[in-house]
Symmetry: C2
Subunit: 387 residues, 2 copies
């Protein structure tokens, strides 16, 4: 692609990634030249090798590594898949491509036909399902320490942001306080964003896009001088990385607002700790001191120290009876190391006792003014969050 069509930052990133990939994979050829069987050492991505680092409060990959050898019959196919994917990604990088994990699957999908010296014909597919090629991409990420974003592998993105800040993305400087009624849709490679100028006191991350629209439209971020983000449900990698960078580089406290139910807690937990699947990524994606602002069970039912935000009549109309899978999920979450704080155990126990959940929209139904200009700022000001 001609250079006026793509951004300078992309051209630098692809050069660097291509160099790292080349070095890593050339080592295999050196091994052959040295008369050794080619072997890749790759950190193990197993549950057993996923550890919760108490001190850093992060889910991380442990020290264990696996050896993937070309001459091991059990490993040969996976070895082939890894080198195939490595070469496809490398080709994409040097050819100014922007693949997605779905098209990488197609790029590599074909049958390898082999004839043995005896004339027998063997046929083997490189891979059949995308989960195979996806898994190989993750292997390459941990093998090279390049995240897929570093290799300009793109993906769909749901995260949005507004607030009083200027960022540089690609060749442009964008003023996120001048988005009108719309919002800025976060790019799939948030590490390439520069924070040019920021005027904000905190970050509010809202699970639901519709509630984000309401708060944005009501001028919440202008009044309280915050960066307003939505993950539009389960957060994707880009939204998580963007929030983490706001925390780290701008030193802004991060508050998460979700429904009052185990699914909402899980979303919070993904922002804060990372997910088991992506533990090799937690170090860059997780925001360990993100705070769960609400909606909490205490907001609904009150605690010995505070009055509830709902009247009894509102509770009767608004709360939803927890389903069996909610209860089961809550019991699981209760046992996660990172939920073993006093405040979280109390929150989960209150849920298990009341067997009730609440949607954030029920709070909005008491008036957007209540939600935007009373409930949220009140809780932030009092430090009434769970962490």
């Amino acid at each position: 692609m001609s250079s006026e069509l793509t951004s300078k930052v992309d051209r630098e990133v692809r050069k660097k990634a291509a160099e790292v990939l080349k070095t890593k994979f050339l080592r295999l050829i050196e091994q052959v030249k040295e008369g050794q069987p080619p072997v890749m050492e790759i950190p193990k991505r197993t549950l057993a090798n996923t550890v919760y680092d108490e001190k850093r409060k992060l889910l991380l990959l442990g020290e264990e590594k696996l050896k993937r050898s070309f001459i091991d019959l059990n490993e040969a196919k996976r070895f082939m898949q890894t080198t195939l994917m490595g070469s496809i990604i490398y080709e994409a990088l040097i050819n100014d491509e922007y693949p997605t994990i779905r098209d990488l699957y197609y790029r590599g999908k074909h049958s390898i036909v082999l004839k043995s010296p005896e004339g027998k014909v063997y046929e083997e597919n490189t891979w059949d399902e995308q989960k195979e090629s996806d898994s190989v991409i993750v292997d390459i990420e941990v093998f090279t320490s390049l995240l897929r974003e570093d290799m300009l592998i793109l993906s769909k993105e749901k995260g949005k942001v507004v607030g009083d800040m200027r960022i540089r993305s690609g060749n442009d400087v964008i003023d996120l306080s001048k988005m009108g009624h719309g919002a800025y849709s976060i790019e799939p490679t948030p590490d390439l964003i520069d924070f040019v100028e920021v005027n904000a006191q905190f970050v509010l991350v809202v699970e639901k896009d519709a509630v984000f629209q309401q708060l944005h439209r009501a001028g919440f971020w202008k009044k309280y001088n915050c960066i307003l983000v939505t993950s539009a449900g389960q957060p994707d990698r880009a939204t998580r990385r963007f929030v983490r960078r706001l925390r780290d580089e701008l030193n802004l406290p991060v508050y998460i607002l979700t429904d009052a139910d185990p699914y909402g807690w899980y979303i919070y937990s993904v922002f804060r700790i990372g997910s088991i699947n992506l533990s090799y990524e937690s170090e860059r994606l997780a925001t360990p001191d993100a705070k769960f602002l609400g909606v909490s069970m205490g907001d609904i039912f009150g605690t010995k120290n505070k009055k509830p935000y709902l009247t009894e009549k509102e509770r009767n109309s608004f709360i939803i009876k927890a389903k069996d899978f909610d209860i089961k999920r809550a019991q699981e979450i209760r046992n996660y190391s990172w939920f073993k704080t006093k405040s979280w155990q109390e929150e989960i126990d209150l849920f298990l006792q009341k067997k009730a959940k609440l949607e954030i929209e029920a709070m909005a139904s008491k008036g957007l003014k209540f939600l935007a200009f009373q409930y949220i700022p009140d809780k932030i000001q009092k430090g009434d969050y769970i962490s």
Copy 2:
């Protein structure tokens, strides 16, 4: 909310909507004063009253109306629900609120307790499920001819756009050619957008967000001078209205790019004709001359007039066997009036014969340069689309 927090255009819109609602519902009180039973006349939203207008090529509501009377036992509850929702929306409008359909459900959800003259106590819920309150909102839309967007009822939005155009939204002018690697997320009320300045030859709507990211990043819209939009799957109301306005007001041709399968055709059809559920809205949401750019069966297998874009080897690796529900869906779609053109019948017949589908990512896997700088422009230039 204080006026510096919200936009001027919103304040004007809410004033107008409140006035219309008031006039419509005050008529009921006048009826009572005139000694008549209060009755609302509401266009029927039944399948039987949904007609396909051959000439305008739109799914529209027919002429039939229903009478919702307070003193008809079968209608009394629905009458109550309609006036209740009318008053809630009116209150939201005059109180500078921005409700969502979900919080409108909560706003109205409660039990009405009645004591008969004999002292017997009756209890009745206003509504139990959101589908009840949603249906009442639609009744109010057709009753007042105000769409929910006109009443500043917000919703989640998935649509994104980039391109060489300046728009006014709220208090801001936004340059959609300066979004960096990110994009502009369309507001839930796209009728409030002003097109300030547009420099584009056509509109390309991409079903998949990840493919949008790829085309954007590769500079597709810069090179071909187009407005690039994604619906991120099934299009929401705002994306459909935004695309329709680009067609109508800027006189730009609209091309739709989806997977080659019945689901992709359906997405195209929603953009072009509207959906049966929202037929009362087609007049404002549908883009009757939107063109299905691809991926078409002819692109995969070739036709008597053109060579396929895939080699036989690529076809063998890329095509996916159609499932039973794909076949069934294709047979249904084949019978829709608006698919009864020669080119659509040929397309569907080729699908039914080959029983094969293809994802757009398979085209991207031949190289993003192939997709962005050969396949798409080639087809547009040759007029190789289905309509």
